[in-house]
């Protein structure tokens, strides 16, 4: 699941984008991992994450399969943390998304004390993750570096679309839909918050960062770089 590695954006755009995830190791510690994965999510929820995700069931924003037609005028969109936590029923990857370093450090410090035995990773700017480790008193074990995109990069979309689309690394947020949301925000047909809600529901493992998405949409609206 390299779904968070290749998020597009410059350092300023990615500065406050952190995904902390826990993953059981198949054949080594996965058989008794479900309560630990739930515990991870429960601890994360105390630190005000902007999203929580279960790699096989989704995040705190999910589509509804029996939507009331009145939703076109008034859509219920409250984030549902409890469904994510209680929904974990088999070994999977779980993630918590944060929009500030202080919360990540506090969460990692608590994880260290809790000693779940699961592999814990931070997906973020390499330097920012290293700072977190140092502040918590951990030495990095391994690092995977994103070298970005190669090949026919002229087939990619513009920067704002790419920034939004790559926040679902599984590619569930299409360029066209991201473009449509930018246009709707520019046209005043939807607020950035509403557009973030639509985009979040397509991320099937809950690693989309709605705070960052809101900033990107706001920048796109004003055409700031």
């Amino acid at each position: 699941m390299t779904n968070t590695l290749h998020r597009y954006g410059d350092e300023e755009s990615l500065r406050n984008d952190f995904i902390v995830f826990a993953i059981p190791c198949r054949g080594h510690n996965d058989h008794d991992s479900v309560p630990k994965l739930r515990r991870f999510l429960r601890l994360a929820s105390r630190h005000h994450p902007v999203n929580l995700g279960d790699g096989s069931r989704g995040g705190i924003y999910r589509p509804s399969k029996a939507l009331n037609p009145l939703a076109h005028w008034r859509r219920e969109g409250e984030p549902d943390f409890e469904t994510v936590i209680e929904g974990v029923s088999s070994p999977t990857t779980v993630a918590a998304v944060f929009d500030n370093r202080e919360a990540v450090e506090a969460f990692v410090a608590e994880l260290r004390q809790e000693d779940l035995g699961l592999s814990i990773n931070i997906s973020a700017l390499v330097d920012r993750a290293q700072e977190c480790c140092e502040d918590v008193g951990l030495a990095r074990h391994s690092v995977e570096y994103s070298l970005g995109f190669m090949g026919k990069t002229d087939r990619l979309a513009d920067r704002h679309v790419l920034e939004l689309s790559t926040m679902c690394g599984h590619g569930m947020i299409s360029f066209t839909f991201a473009r449509k949301m930018i246009d709707w925000v520019k046209e005043g047909r939807r607020t950035p918050e509403q557009a973030c809600g639509y985009l979040s529901r397509f991320c099937s493992c809950g690693v989309f960062n709605p705070t960052r998405a809101g900033e990107i949409l706001e920048r796109a609206r004003r055409r700031n770089s």
């Binding site: 590695l5 939703a71 990773n121 990095r140 391994s142 690092v143 090949g151 360029f175 397509f202």
Partner: protein, 275 residues
Amino acid sequence: MIIDPKKCVACGNCVAVCPMGAIYIDPVKRRATVNQDECVECYTCFRGMSTEHLNPTLVRGIRKLGGFFRWRFDPEPDVCPTAAITEQELAWPRIVRRAFSDPVVPHESTGVHGRGTEEVKTNDITNRVGTEDAGFTVEFGRPTIGVRFWQIQEMTRALAGTGIEFEPRNPVTSLMADTSTGELRPDILNEKILSAIVEFKTALPNVPRVLSLVKEVAGRLDTVVAVGVSARCDAQGENRLEEMLTREGFAYNRGKTNLGLGRASLEVAEAAAHT
């Protein structure tokens, strides 16, 4: 994926959400239609869109009336009003499209959701990438361009024999007819998927050669390639790869950092000690 013509009201919402751009409104049938050759069975439309279960005849009537008077109704953009998007049974080899494109479906070869393995995310337990190694994840088709297996094969053929070792538990490796040549099974070569990750490791000194080769082959393919390279850190949390990447002119800013908090469960550790 198919769209039920009896239910579809041609609202067009599904057109924009398809990552592959495979859905269009057929001007003759006046229904949303899926280009089956381009559809990668990612289930984004089926799973990601909310659904209502409105009467199609009623919705078509209202849309026709609104269209006549040029009324603009601004519906929710992620909703299929009549639940017209329908799964279809997938047979071999088309079924590999879903296995590589729908992240909710675990690969039979790895048991992991998504297209890769655990990579270095569990390296604190497996030590798969050692201090003298570099791990690679070369991903094709992402974001949202897609790739066919024959394009991936161009890369795996080029990489085979360059001192790399394909990750045995990776889904692409499991589809190789011969890992020594990088040949994939011929019956899947024309299948289109949203993305796939080729994983391998090599000795640290071989990194510049491999990166140069990946860049060269990627330039020949009509898709995008996203490259990740990983290293094991020393006791101080440092590694030699960072300096090597900088020296070779490969910029990086994002990454995944394994904190080293994982360990094998007691039973597994005891079993390993006895063997």
